[in-house]
Symmetry: C2
Subunit: 358 residues, 2 copies
Amino acid sequence: MNSFLLSAILAITSLSLTEGATAQKKLFYTKASELGRVGQILPTANLFHRIDTATYPNLPAVVKTLLTQSAGKAFVFTTNSNTIGAKWCVSPRKQSDNLTAINQKGLDLYIKRQGEWVWAGVGRPKANCTEQTIVGDMDNSDKECLLYLPLYDETISLEIGVETGSTIAASASPFKKRVLIYGSSIAQGASASRPGLAYPAMLSRRTGLNFLNLGLSGNAKMHREVADMIVDIPADAYILDCVPNSSPDEIKERTAYLVNSIRKKYPKAPIIMIQSLVREQGNWNNATRERVAAQNQSFQREFDALISKGVKDLYFIKESNFLGTDHEGTVDGTHPNDIGFERFVNVIEPQIEKILKE
Amino acid sequence: MNSFLLSAILAITSLSLTEGATAQKKLFYTKASELGRVGQILPTANLFHRIDTATYPNLPAVVKTLLTQSAGKAFVFTTNSNTIGAKWCVSPRKQSDNLTAINQKGLDLYIKRQGEWVWAGVGRPKANCTEQTIVGDMDNSDKECLLYLPLYDETISLEIGVETGSTIAASASPFKKRVLIYGSSIAQGASASRPGLAYPAMLSRRTGLNFLNLGLSGNAKMHREVADMIVDIPADAYILDCVPNSSPDEIKERTAYLVNSIRKKYPKAPIIMIQSLVREQGNWNNATRERVAAQNQSFQREFDALISKGVKDLYFIKESNFLGTDHEGTVDGTHPNDIGFERFVNVIEPQIEKILKE
């Protein structure tokens, strides 16, 4: 566990006391480094990166960049403050047309109530650096908080603000075990409206398991260098949701190496191959429809071949109306919107839970 | 009807032939003014405005600005082209943090299949002016198309591109009657992921009725000047979804004037008052929760008073888990995301249809 407990007194002695232009109350701020951590794929020199890319010099450059984005990372803490704010900075990366700024550069806070994570507030980015109240006017009871980081940008710094005189303490990760999701932009979180609605985050809150976001937007192509990195990531199960970014030929050439590498290093960990959701662009675009069908067929063939070669604990989740049947589940024909993600999780969650229980 | 039929030959003689930097095919372009119109609240001098504000000089300035935004407007046409593109320009208005650029400045295309509107593609804004293929690689059958305009920006110009040699013709509005929705940012479409998922647009596609978007972000405050404008808008029914922007006192002071004005001018048209959806900010923020409850109570009291004074054909839709019960239905605690809108429409659609059938 990377998280640790801070005494309540730390709150009073801690760090910067800031009168922010946008914060509505005088808060005192605690650095994220002092709080509990969620979503750590591997230990990193930079608190907000997913992988320390200096360790993997041969990765494709674009993959290295994506690994600096904070998708799936979150901090956990308890506080009795009636107001929670944040100061955070992100890179000046341009806003994507299919994402809200809250998804790409914002924060998303949940607080636990009777065992359930109940949404509490977002940090709405106003510039590269923002200081803001996320939620106020609460009571002063102890609250267990889970704050998600931006999905599609590099987080540069983060401090959590609570009211002067209140307590704040790191808490332990609330999620058990480790399930790595290696996937595309869809796994990274495009196009959830906010960070907590990325599907790995939804799966964690629903199941209590620690789903780790290794979504690599546009670049989950099963590169050999990425496969060699993945085997360095210890996990209790591995989900491969990388079909959307891989051509049928890439799937044919690369799937066996990735699966066999994981199987060799982790002989018993379930490996779950997921077909691509249907691209709604293919409602009318025949070429798109045929391409996705060919990708999914290629992945199925690779699965069948691996099974016939005796690979154990290998599972397959077949595309089955992942996005429903009304064609409304995407923002742009490729990336699920929140309807799409909800439907996708409703289909895959029971299948994943069943596999993990076996 | 403002729409009219163009002969197929128009396509061949029409307008500009452009080799676009971003368009993938050589398309020829037809101005939006030559196509069928959907969502016209009143005739306007500017094709893309919702109301001609020059007619209403006393409106609050911010309301005038909002009426220039193209929320709810759409164009309808038929084409046998296998590619459909667009060239469009919007204002340089800053991107909102809780909207995608596709919602705010983009286009959203549906094509009819066996009586159902099936999503086809979006126009993804790349700058103030964009030229882009929306969908390609289709077959050459005749297609009935419905193209929604940006929800949160002023549309400056729009041309539709189809393949050289193919046909394009205006079609008549596919939606019957007129149901005016006077509402807040939520009615205007925040925060649907794309224009076709604003709730008035969803209601139209689901019911076949012509729901007109008079959503005025942040400013549906039942101003007297706005009420006086609304009575100039002929409709078969009036939906008042303006609670989110009005304080309890404003609701008390202004509701009767608005309802009575409509009733006087349109003695038989149903008037449907809808309570505000719960703000998910109020999950933890006690002040927000209490404020929304007070707004809704105030609206209920006004309804009861109007009924007791004998106002006929007045209906009330009570908040009843409009956004579901898992607290995940908003982007920011106020504005529904696509999950929220789907749940909201699932609750209100049958109630509205029942009222309109009476």
